[in-house]
Symmetry: C2
Subunit: 444 residues, 2 copies
């Protein structure tokens, strides 16, 4: 890790007018829990946006690192993202996560244990009322740093909150911890959550290939993979090529123009070579206007079916062969039983690095990964300006696609392969992985 703990700078943190830590009041000066000064601070952490397998590992990262820091007293979890701050719905995480075993279980639990939201803050120059509520809660709770684990929408919150706090001279550091299975955040090499989703997609694709090739008749199998604007996850299904698997034979991502005629031509060519043709397609691949909304049920309601079903019907109508489509659906983002250990470990580490960044006095920053080497795979973590990441998307580079634009290049493999390595040593109970949960009543 390129992160230099010796460079920490605590100065600005201790300007917070926090109450003395409970122990600080009774311990002799040299045993004070806070290293510099008389006051400790509390922190808050929240999770936002769509679930992944790694968000809870980032929460563990923030939590475990904060436990080690004498400068940090209470660790609050905000329920349902920033909404929990607005409503002062904070829970004391030390009373919830009590042991190392709890942390291990949380690392293997998918989704957001604190709940999530898709809340977009207004521009505070136009409407500052919600900002005032947030500032009041943070002050009352003596919170010196707020960590927001989320995607590029959530980084908008990081940017706006940090700017507002500067404006009102409130010393609360705001740090973004990235997460998204879509891997579409700018600046960072990749995002926590993506590696586990990619591992699930590639493993499941391999199993679907086995399942699809059992009968002697020709067939086409279409696998619809998440990714509305960027094709990272769909592309990751092609890592199987690195192990000699010819399938998926065709891969379509939103980054290239999709033509139904070209698709049918591609399928025909592959059918001449393979008995069972396997196609990976991003949910975000656009189909001709009106095709999807043209589907209606018997009540006359619009039936929003995906690109997979559309292509299935197209192949059936054109070739009359056996064809089916499979939507990997939410399993892509919640199958933590098949997490990438690399991903989960990195998710925890970047959460911890976020704590150190706040303690160094930085704010309005988002932690990013920088890749140093592919072999051996080496990354560093560092902060970047939230404004460089918020509300932006990163797309699959052209060189990751084959010249024809209907499959993934070998060049992409060096990028994808390190991210899916390693498996968690899962804690099982009676044949099922154990999850860490917080009682529904506490979260209400």
């Amino acid at each position: 890790m390129g992160y230099n703990r010796r460079k920490r700078f605590f100065g600005s943190i201790f300007r917070i007018k926090a109450t003395p830590h409970k122990l600080c009041a009774v311990l002799p000066k040299k045993l004070l829990c806070c290293k510099k000064g008389d006051y400790c601070m509390n922190i808050a952490v929240a999770q936002s946006g769509g679930p992944t397998c790694a968000i809870n590992a980032s929460l563990v990262g923030v939590f475990r690192e904060s436990l080690k820091e004498p400068a940090i007293d209470a660790i609050f979890g905000s329920v349902n993202g920033v909404e929990g701050i607005i409503q002062d719905h904070l829970i004391d995480l030390k009373t919830m996560i009590r042991t190392n075993e709890d942390m291990e279980l949380l690392r293997q639990t998918p989704s957001t244990v604190l709940g999530s939201c898709r809340y977009k803050l207004p521009d505070f120059h136009e409407d500052s009322s919600v900002y005032e509520k947030i500032a009041a809660v943070l002050k009352r709770r003596k919170i010196g740093a707020f960590f927001y684990i989320g995607g590029n929408d959530s980084m908008d919150t990081v940017q706006k909150l940090s700017a507002y706090f500067k404006e009102i001279d409130l010393d609360v550091k705001v740090i973004g911890i990235p997460k998204t299975i879509d891997n579409d955040l700018c600046i960072t090499d990749h995002t926590p959550g993506f590696g586990s989703a990619a591992k699930y997609v590639a493993t499941t694709m391999q199993e679907i290939i086995r399942d699809s090739s059992v009968y002697s008749i020709p067939s086409v199998t279409i696998v619809e993979i998440m990714g509305r604007h960027a094709g990272w996850l769909t592309a990751s299904s092609a890592v199987l090529h690195a192990y000699g698997e010819p399938a998926p034979h065709l891969v379509y991502v939103p980054e290239t123009h999709f033509s139904a005629e070209r698709f049918l031509h591609d399928v025909e060519q592959e059918m001449a070579k393979h008995k069972a043709v396997i196609v990976a397609v991003s949910e975000g691949v656009s189909v001709p206007e009106g095709v999807q909304s043209g589907l209606v049920d018997n009540f006359g309601h619009k039936y929003l079916s995906g690109i997979g079903k559309y292509l299935e019907q197209l192949v059936r109508d054109t070739f009359g062969c056996k064809v089916r489509s499979i939507e990997l659906n939410v399993m892509q983002r919640c199958s933590s039983h098949l997490s990438s250990k690399t991903d989960i470990d990195e998710a925890e580490q970047i959460g911890a690095a976020g704590v150190q960044t706040a303690l160094r006095g930085e704010t309005g920053r988002v932690m990013i990964f920088r890749r140093i080497h592919n072999k051996p795979y080496t990354i560093t973590m560092e902060p970047a300006d939230a404004s460089q990441i918020a509300n932006r998307e990163k797309f699959l580079p052209r060189e990751f696609l084959t010249p024809a634009g209907n499959n993934i290049s070998d060049e992409a493999m060096a990028y994808f392969l390190p991210l899916i390595q390693g498996e968690l040593d899962l804690v099982m109970r009676g044949g099922i992985p154990v999850h860490f949960t917080i009682q529904e009543s506490v979260l209400k």
Copy 2:
């Protein structure tokens, strides 16, 4: 295991007019590879019906046990089920499966490595032409026993072939090795393949529950699970109750009458109690006539969408809340990365027991499991008449359902839980499980 190896009876096997084993011709009499008599036999094994995670383990069971038996010489794999016998498309498995490592990889590979078919033999009294082809191939290949790994349709083949061979006095034993994720075979306590599918369904259901409960707004999630006529697999999703998980809150199986009004009433009741309501539904639950076929795409084609999508729309129209449906699709039968070790071990053992049954001289028999105890879980394997199993289905007993018929009873847990225990120690390469495959050209 209640299986008594000492009771083997080799007599009838050696009536086969097979050529002497290669070694038999050169070794002194007392070192003959065949224990009794001068002749060895070859065997054939085939896989049929829909894929599961455990069919290949049963193939390993037949193969490994046959390797140990000096009475057995060549082990032929029939490509694409009984079709491979008809077309004399047999491959020498000893040249394909060469090491213990190969067998381990085959155990963790989903689907049928030899290919499959859905071929139904005619009544031989009416049309014996295909039977004559089969008999000719078996005679030419010196095959003394044929093992057919399949579901209740395949057991029809076991029954018909064994009856025909008796009729023409051809001494080829025909033994059925059960498999189906549907668990709907009669007589046997359960079927190989079911335990792994149930483990996948329960684990994925738990992950979907986590994924579905992150937002603060009320929602309904409908999970569509395989099972056209029997609800075993859908019911297995409720094993989570045994670990204190209240969800799935509602479970609908084909064994009970489905009423849309009753369903909406149930959902409303659960929504009053839970923020995120989770429903498990069998694909085979019948909806009002014409509802599914009423869906058309913009070409005017019938759009066969499943029960999940139908119920999703029904909930949306009635309650206007956030709702989604998830189809677990083929992942239920091919996710061997999450196999039940109990299932895979039993699948191998029942294949081996089938070999011993043939060597005892039995034919027209299907191997079954009999459960002796739940705690500790103990089973025996024994043969049953194929006629008792072929073309019949076993349904979920009434006592496995709650009185209201919309969930699974605690009584069912004792049945389901032992079947999902244990995990394979997967061989991984670069983050992905390794599969055993046979070259496409060999299978053509």
